[in-house]
């Protein structure tokens, strides 16, 4: 059993740890999309670029927070580990979408990620006391939900477009 | 002893049959009654030439409320004509609606649901009551008996309440629409109608006592304004004017329409053919209408379709044809002659109102040798409504 896996089995963790994972989550995704963008056909590039931009925004939020002095104390607080934490951290691992994935493959991957993130942030918001961090998780959960919904709409319109 | 005028001064007839009236002679006077005059029923005028108290010549003038309905209808679609026809007769507008609707239905080949026939008949009898109530007030008023008009106006108003709840309007009902009628009777209508009918009957009792059993009225109305029976055909006389002369002319019986074949009644007649008899025939005809309404409310179906399916009325075309639909209104034979040419508009509509002959040719004949004081009563006794003359 790897160290990471053992870590995941712990029922308690600190907010700091969680934040680190989350920051990593957003960063790897951003880099993945940024690297993918030039590889895909130009007609799909908008999709990948938009995804990269979205992840960048979230990454910025986390890094800004980590730098705030007023939150240092709170970050040490232990919180209940969210139920779906493993699904979330799984998503840090990059998928193999091949050299030239099409729109459907990109969308399916992005959807899976957004869904995991949404659930993760939602649970975290529930297990933190009211305050800046609680608000942040609420905000993120909401962001990811919105993003996921948008992606689902895009997916439906793109993949199911010709159904009529 | 009756008044005997001195006719030695009277004008001679010229070769063409007209009277040789020299106004400059000072023997004759031109006297106008109307168009605004309490003794005139509506907007019309009578140009009288009198010699002393006696009328030597009378001419009816109309045109004061000519709106050209017949012509206006030629540029309206068949359904658009429906709201304007009622305006051709204010006190009893429903015959216009019925005759027009029936003419359109006949030429368009539409079958109207049975319930609609009953409701149409009901409305026509309600209208007849109102028309007679107005007449009675007017006839009494022509002799200075203002109170009768006050009573009949009140009970007419009660009937207008019934019209209002049934049709949605008091005067211009716009309810008998080509294809049927607009709706069934409202809930509880029959009971309220019965109360109204009883009120009218009670008032008619008063009217009979005060107006008909009245020495003054009899002195002024009996033996005055007699229409000789042989004039009937020549002057196109119909309705109570004919029935008071002993001829039972009543379209409801002669050529029954709507549901009249299912109703039990006899045409009301008189025999003396004077103002009094005509008033009395109308009073009794009013009582007949009350009876007919009661029969209708008992016999009519309580539910069912009120209208037949129409084509899209916005571009409803009717094949070429012509027809004439008549009904017995309070004044006589009312009828619509409709000509269609296959387009979406009537080619020609001609409205036959009984007043057309009654208040012109007939009146001009009857008024000769009448006393000036009887002219108003005579005209009212013919029961004329000017708008149906000039349509």
């Amino acid at each position: 059993m790897s160290e990471a896996s053992i870590e995941r089995l712990k029922s308690k963790t600190t907010l700091k740890d969680i934040l680190e994972v989350a920051t990593e989550f957003e960063r790897t995704a951003r880099d993945f999309y940024a690297a993918l963008a030039p590889k895909v056909q130009k007609n799909l590039r908008y999709l990948v670029q938009e995804l990269a931009e979205e992840e960048q925004r979230h990454y910025d939020l986390f890094t800004q927070m980590a730098e705030r002095d007023d939150l240092e104390q709170q970050l040490q607080t232990e919180v209940e580990r969210p139920v779906n934490d493993h699904k979330f951290s799984d998503c840090i691992h990059l998928p193999d979408l091949g050299e030239q994935p099409d729109d459907q493959a990109v969308l399916q991957y992005a959807l899976k990620r957004e869904h995991a993130a949404m659930e993760q942030y939602h649970s975290l918001a529930q297990s933190t006391e009211p305050g800046a961090i609680h608000d942040l998780f609420l905000y993120l959960a909401n962001e990811e939900t919105k993003h996921k919904n948008e992606l689902e709409k895009v997916y439906y319109e793109t993949v199911h477009s010709g159904g009529v | 002893m009756a008044y005997q005028p001195d006719r030695s001064q009277y004008p001679q007839k010229k070769a063409d049959g007209t009277l040789d009236i020299d106004l400059a002679s000072g023997k004759y006077l031109k006297l106008w009654q109307g168009p605004q005059h309490p003794g005139i029923t509506g907007n019309m005028a009578i140009e009288l030439t009198v010699c002393g108290d006696e009328v030597v010549e009378g001419k009816t003038h109309v045109g004061y409320l000519h709106r050209g309905f017949e012509k206006l209808m030629e540029r309206r679609t068949f359904m658009q004509c429906f709201p304007i026809v009622c305006r051709i007769c204010v006190p009893e507008p429903d015959f216009n609606e019925y005759c027009y609707a029936a003419a359109v239905e006949e030429l368009a080949g539409l079958e109207v649901p049975e319930l609609a026939h009953w409701i149409r008949t009901l409305i026509l009898e309600m209208g007849r009551i109102n028309s007679y109530l107005m007449y009675l007030g007017g006839q009494a008023g022509a002799f200075g008996q203002g109170v009768i008009g006050q009573w009949t106006t009140y009970v007419r108003d009660l009937m207008l309440d019934r019209f209002e709840e049934l049709t949605g309007a008091r005067i211009y009902h716009m309810f008998i629409i080509p294809g049927g009628v607009r709706d069934n009777l409202p809930e509880g209508f029959a009971a309220r109608m019965e109360t109204t009918l009883q009120e009218i009957e009670s008032t008619l009792g008063d009217v009979e006592r005060v107006m008909f059993h009245n020495a003054v009225f009899k002195k002024r109305a009996v033996g005055v304004g007699i229409i000789a029976p042989e004039l009937l055909d020549s002057y196109g006389i119909t309705g109570p004017n004919a029935r008071a002369a002993g001829v039972a002319k009543d379209v409801r019986k002669d050529q029954p329409y709507l549901v009249y074949p299912e109703l039990d009644f006899e045409a009301v007649t008189g025999k003396d053919s004077d103002i009094y008899t005509r008033a009395d025939v109308r009073r009794r005809d009013l009582l007949l209408s009350i009876d007919l309404i009661r029969q209708i409310l008992v016999k009519m179906p309580k539910s069912g379709a009120v209208m037949t399916k129409l084509p899209n009325v916005l571009h409803w075309k009717i094949p070429r044809g012509e027809t004439y639909i008549r009904g017995e209104c309070s004044r006589g034979e009312y009828g619509y002659y409709l000509v269609t040419d296959g387009s979406g508009y009537p080619r020609r509509v001609n409205v036959r109102g009984p007043s057309y002959t009654h208040s012109i040719a007939l009146f001009e004949r009857l008024v000769v040798n009448a006393n000036i004081s009887d002219v108003a009563a005579l005209l009212v006794s013919l029961h004329t409504y000017p708008p149906e003359i000039e349509r």
């Binding site: - | 206006l72 196109g236 119909t238 012509e322 027809t323 020609r348 040719a361």
Partner: protein, 177 residues
């Protein structure tokens, strides 16, 4: 059936034209102008059609003709017959029937005024009837345009305007497209 029988009897004598059965109790018969008077007299005196219901005209502008309709009623037999007489629209003239029915003079006076049809010898034919001082063409003729007349002689209250739904939608939704 009865009407048809009557028509068949009278047809040769009065050279009747088209027969149109409208209802069991109403038929229209076309008759030549010159035969009308005699036919009317016959119908009135011999056939029981004693009641002149109405006399009016229809303007068949396209055909250059007026149709005069004489509607008679036989009360005893519950029958109506409409006699159609087609006369030339230009200088329209028709024989008067006031000698048969006194009331006919009024109808003829109106027809003279409203349609410009002459009925020589009809009493007071040229006296104004409904239209006192009318200068225009007889107004019930089809070529008299009531809307035009109204627009020329009356003024609309200002402030009225309207839009066509389809045109408005084009302007709002897809413009020049």
């Amino acid at each position: 059936m009865v009407m048809q029988a009557l028509y068949d009897t009278l047809k040769p004598r009065f050279l009747l034209g088209e027969f149109t059965k409208q209802r069991d109790d109403l038929a229209f018969i076309t008759v030549e102008a010159v035969r009308l008077h005699a036919l009317l007299r016959h119908l009135r005196d011999q056939e029981g059609f004693t009641h002149l219901v109405l006399l009016t005209a229809v303007d068949w502008l396209e055909d250059g003709q007026f149709q005069l309709t004489y509607l008679l009623n036989n009360r005893a037999k519950r029958q109506d017959v409409g006699l159609r007489v087609l006369i030339a629209r230009d200088n329209a003239t028709m024989e008067s029937i006031h000698d048969l029915w006194a009331a006919a003079a009024t109808y003829q006076r109106e027809l003279r005024e409203m349609f410009g049809i002459d009925f020589p010898d009809s009493p007071r034919l040229h006296e104004d009837f409904i239209l006192e001082g009318w200068q225009d063409i007889p107004p019930y003729r089809r070529d008299f345009d009531t809307l035009k007349y109204a627009q020329e002689n009356y003024r609309d209250r200002p402030g009225r305007e309207t839009r066509d739904p389809a045109q408005h939608m084009k302007q709002q939704l897809y413009g020049e497209d």
